[in-house]
Symmetry: C2
Subunit: 443 residues, 2 copies
Amino acid sequence: MTREIFLKLIQAREFKAVQSVLNVMNPVDIAALLEDLEGTDLALAFRLIPKDRAAETFSEMRPSRQACLVERFTDTELKALLDALFLDDTVDLLEELPANLVTRILAAVDKDKRAQINTLLGYPEDSAGSIMTTEYVRLKPDMTVVQAIDQIRKTGIHKQTIYTCYVLEARQLVGIVSAKDLLTADDAVRVGDIMTRRIVSVNTTADREDVAKLLSKYGFLALPVLDAQGYMVGIVTIDDAVDVLEAETTEDLSIMAAVNPSEKPYFESSVWDHAKNRIVWLLVLMFSAIATGSILTYYENAFQAIPLLVSFVPMLMDTGGNCGSQSSTLIIRGLALEEIRLTDIFRVMFKELRIALLVGFTLAAANGLRILITYRSVKMAFVIALSLMATVIISKLIGCTLPLLAKKVRLDPAIMAAPLITTLVDTCSVMIYFAIATRVFGL
Amino acid sequence: MTREIFLKLIQAREFKAVQSVLNVMNPVDIAALLEDLEGTDLALAFRLIPKDRAAETFSEMRPSRQACLVERFTDTELKALLDALFLDDTVDLLEELPANLVTRILAAVDKDKRAQINTLLGYPEDSAGSIMTTEYVRLKPDMTVVQAIDQIRKTGIHKQTIYTCYVLEARQLVGIVSAKDLLTADDAVRVGDIMTRRIVSVNTTADREDVAKLLSKYGFLALPVLDAQGYMVGIVTIDDAVDVLEAETTEDLSIMAAVNPSEKPYFESSVWDHAKNRIVWLLVLMFSAIATGSILTYYENAFQAIPLLVSFVPMLMDTGGNCGSQSSTLIIRGLALEEIRLTDIFRVMFKELRIALLVGFTLAAANGLRILITYRSVKMAFVIALSLMATVIISKLIGCTLPLLAKKVRLDPAIMAAPLITTLVDTCSVMIYFAIATRVFGL
């Protein structure tokens, strides 16, 4: 079903056809199909979604579409939606909506749920508390397997996941049992006897990225969240963790390209926002590059005497920048994946040094040879080869140490990526180059 | 437990203590703890892992550690391990082990399993077939809920996931039902009546990255895999999908930094491998940068007359490179997240053009003013401001279109990242700069 055809069906008020189309679709796809609809058309289409998929479709929509719908809902419709929405999706919604709609929503939910929502809204952004849900299956250690399954049956339909159940004693988490363990155990066995006591949990204030990484590392479907007193308050589920990992990758990539990260998709951000997110770093880097320029000015006499010298500057600058960003990117990624630790700094430097020797030698030989053939100048070939060698070594060492040092002083290693490394390495490479050239040519 | 203390316990043959330590640990953590052990120590420690966690620990270990263990296992131990390992983990193992150990393993599994393993090994690398498992819960549409749950109980313990069950008729997938649906439905209801017929499936030859993205997009725990005839042959589970997404992010980042991607962690690759993965692109980019150099040579007279001109070259080159890589990174990421489509090319260009005008104006004003103050030359300020403006516009347009064009001709957009964009933009910016300068100064 293309969006165009669907739009025409809606505008022609062909409700039967629209309903048939929506009937065979998944919530995620319905949300995508409704992206382009506006105002009344959107509200009409939404009312035709099968009841069992309406809430999930809603939670998959963009904030602007959600706001548009909430504005048009009757009080009854709003209440039905909120009853069907998972608590963490409701909280996500509230964080994006304008204040007048937030008030309307908080008025529509019952007192108990409102209290839970307010607690969730109170957790700091990017914390485990902000992405967790309070809807999970609670069991007791002395329940039998039959009683436990019965408990899942009775309450499970309202829970986000029933596949990991939490065994509590006086609000303290004492064990975890999976639905698989329950289903494959004998009826009379007690939960306390099959639950695992090896609990991996996080605190409400833990960074959401660390939580997501923990979930992915252990291959869990959900992770319990404890408050400062050690009481269990919620769970973070794998689907939310996957979203967090994706968002964090986007953030890292933005930082690595010298762009202030934004949570919004490309087209959702205005031209003004895009410009604002890019200008600061460009200004910083532009003014830093002046340093390299002044080195060139300093060696004015050298390139006045041998103008050819200038023509190798871009090649040296680019090679230095590329070598540096190769190293820094691999180290930044290694740190993110926890394959490289802060204590590995000397191991990393030694490895990069040996790589730089190999790479530097190859580049120096290739370019030296080319210059020997093109310009028939042994001196020039020697200067370029030596400068390349030195540039590669310096830039690889800068590229590998700076992300580690950034991490050491608790900065995001991602800022030590291509743009900053290139600017730093430029200065070094030009300095080395002219130092060698003036000496060899006796300028 | 630090690795050092654990190593000492093993070397002192304190088996009781080692066992107590391992008893309270998760498989993932045990695998990490055993990382540094060698030979007999490793085999000894492995034998002390509680039986219910040995297989999972094994599948979390690095290939070199796995090989070391397989070499030391008795035939009985090997058979016990293979019986407990999930099929997809066994296949992963076989793909990494040396040939003599592969033969030993294939001899140890029964005929039936060997046939399945050989089928899985036959799927192309990076395909859905290569990451799927054939162990899933099969139901029939006319089963009642009680019968279905019973089926899960009987066979579920050997399945990788029981939470998504597949309803088959004559090997054709006709519906999907979750364990949650089964547990929250009435006993006598038939599976056919509660299963969903809205099936999202993939083919065995589908790209594993697309499969992982599909799983994450729909928030599923598993995705069915069909063969060319439409018969269901396996499932891909969320934990494997998360690993794939992580590996693909690493691959993209490597490509974006002009490094040939490698599946191995940083320290697992030899110096030689690292160098090999980096040299090719460095050579290509180094020789491309010669073009920029020759433009400088072409304008030799200009900077002989006004040497100051040269000192602005690094600043212009860097700014162009940074602007270009900002745009290309955001577009590459947008394409990966499917927020930007190929058909959006003109929308993207128009947006980037407006961003470039804003950014370019700011940079030009800031630097023009600086030059006016420092050098008191209106002409020079004008030349630099105009060159900056033009460089920003050109580099943003190159940066945003090249990833889209790469995608169009079915190349990985990630190769159009900072290094290549910088090299291309360098040439343009230097050309523009000297064209403007020679005209303004009448050189």
